[in-house]
């Protein structure tokens, strides 16, 4: 594996395009970037397998936290956790770094790319010029892979787009150093060590066990299934927490954005985990996982129904108490379904 080369390097008018990097679309930006980088480094692994082994599936509801102006939720483990878990279970080691200022962040990225190392970086999607204007929103935790630089243009492999795209240096810097909650601070990473092989069965089993623990057993009232139930309970408070109808509508519409529109979302992550279980079923010869995968697909459909319901009422400003009660009921149903699912998954993998 290639290692980071220290020291700055004159980047102006330098040209480097990593031709053998294979760009492909992915279901999710972070797991997709990790998978692509690992594939480039010689590791044969699929995106659902990365997601499953790293126990990516999760839920957390944050009703009142300093860092969030309004309640929010997550449907996967926190950014960075996938890499940490993958390291523990496969031996892959990632180099990662964030930066205090734009100059040092740009120099580091340029050095890596000009040295032929495809590098993932965290960005705010809003500043990505190649994203159509109607799809641009401020989401600070988008990941893309930089695979080249030609004068003032970076060559970018963004797993949400079918082809490699160009991004001007100025826009990349804005995107990497955007402000706000979970600001990227120029964060970048790449795999610096990939083991020649690892024990797939052990990694899969550990990944599933940890996911079940996270969903069922974490003794924190806002995480896992408890988090879905807390969301179900607290969502009826949302109208009293919003400034006005416009604000409430915006926050309700964000449910759809978090679940569906940007990033893979509640449904999509459930679909990806189902694909992981299908693949795992064959790899460790456990047919029961295939049946559970089918069930999880249906659970994902339920999340999509919830997301659509939220999107509809938000868009139509149809935000009466009855609608929040309905959303609450839909969430309780999701919690019951997921609790039953993860309990059986846990028993299956023991």
């Amino acid at each position: 594996m290639r290692k980071l080369r220290g020291g700055s390097q004159e980047t102006e008018n330098s040209v480097m395009i990593i031709e053998d990097y294979h760009h492909k679309m992915a279901a999710h930006c972070e797991s997709g970037s990790i998978t692509s980088l690992l594939n480039h480094a010689g590791m044969t692994i699929t995106e659902p397998m990365v997601f499953g082994i790293s126990s990516g599936i999760f839920f957390g509801y944050f009703h009142k936290m300093k860092s969030f102006a309004f309640p929010t939720f997550i449907v996967r483990n926190k950014p960075g956790q996938m890499r940490k878990n993958l390291h523990k279970r496969t031996g892959v080691r990632f180099y990662s770094k964030d930066f205090r200022n734009i100059d040092s962040g740009q120099i580091a990225l340029d050095n890596l790319v000009l040295s032929g190392i495809p590098t993932a970086t965290q960005v705010d999607m809003f500043y990505l010029d190649y994203v159509p204007s109607w799809e641009r929103v401020h989401i600070n935790v988008h990941f893309l892979v930089v695979i080249g630089k030609e004068d003032d243009l970076y060559k970018v492999s963004d797993s949400y787009f079918p082809n490699v795209v160009d991004l001007p240096v100025g826009s990349m810097n804005k995107a990497r150093f955007a402000q706000g909650s979970m600001s990227p601070k120029g964060f970048l990473f790449y795999p610096e060590f990939v083991p020649p092989s690892f024990d797939y069965e052990k990694a899969i089993r550990k990944g599933i066990k940890k996911a079940c623990f996270n969903m069922l057993c974490i003794p924190i009232p806002f995480l896992g299934i408890k988090g879905i139930r807390l969301f179900a309970k607290k969502i009826t408070d949302w109208p009293s927490m919003a400034r006005d109808t416009e604000h409430l509508s915006h926050e309700v519409m964000k449910i759809n954005i978090l679940l569906e529109d940007q990033g893979t979302g509640g449904a999509g992550f459930r679909f990806m985990y189902a694909t992981f279980l299908q693949q795992a079923s064959e790899m460790i010869n456990k047919p029961e996982l295939k049946a559970l995968a089918r069930e999880l697909m249906e659970i994902g459909d339920g999340w999509r129904e919830f997301s659509l319901f939220a999107a509809r009422i938000g868009k139509n400003r149809d935000l009466g108490p009855d609608k929040f009660k309905q959303m609450s009921e839909l969430l309780y149903q999701r919690a019951d379904k997921e609790e039953d699912f993860f309990k059986r998954l846990s028993k299956t993998i023991k």
Partner: protein
Amino acid sequence: MSQVPTVELKTEIKNLIMETLGISGITPDEIDDEEPLFGGGNALTLDSVDALEIIMAIQRKYKLRIADQNLARSVIKSINSIAEFLVTEQEKQS
């Protein structure tokens, strides 16, 4: 080699979209097959909520699942892309 989507299928898709979104005042003929359904330029200008409504309507009507968000995004780009996706799926199932 994939079959070419028929005019009938494209009209069926247009009707499904109009019914799903409660659109009136235009006819299926006015919706261009190739122009993007999002971002203007077509008789229909849709947003991300409409996109989700259409995905779910397609899933229900044609009994299939579009699980991947990126696939969903590329499928519902235009009437032609939806029609081509459905033809490919029907070929896979037959």
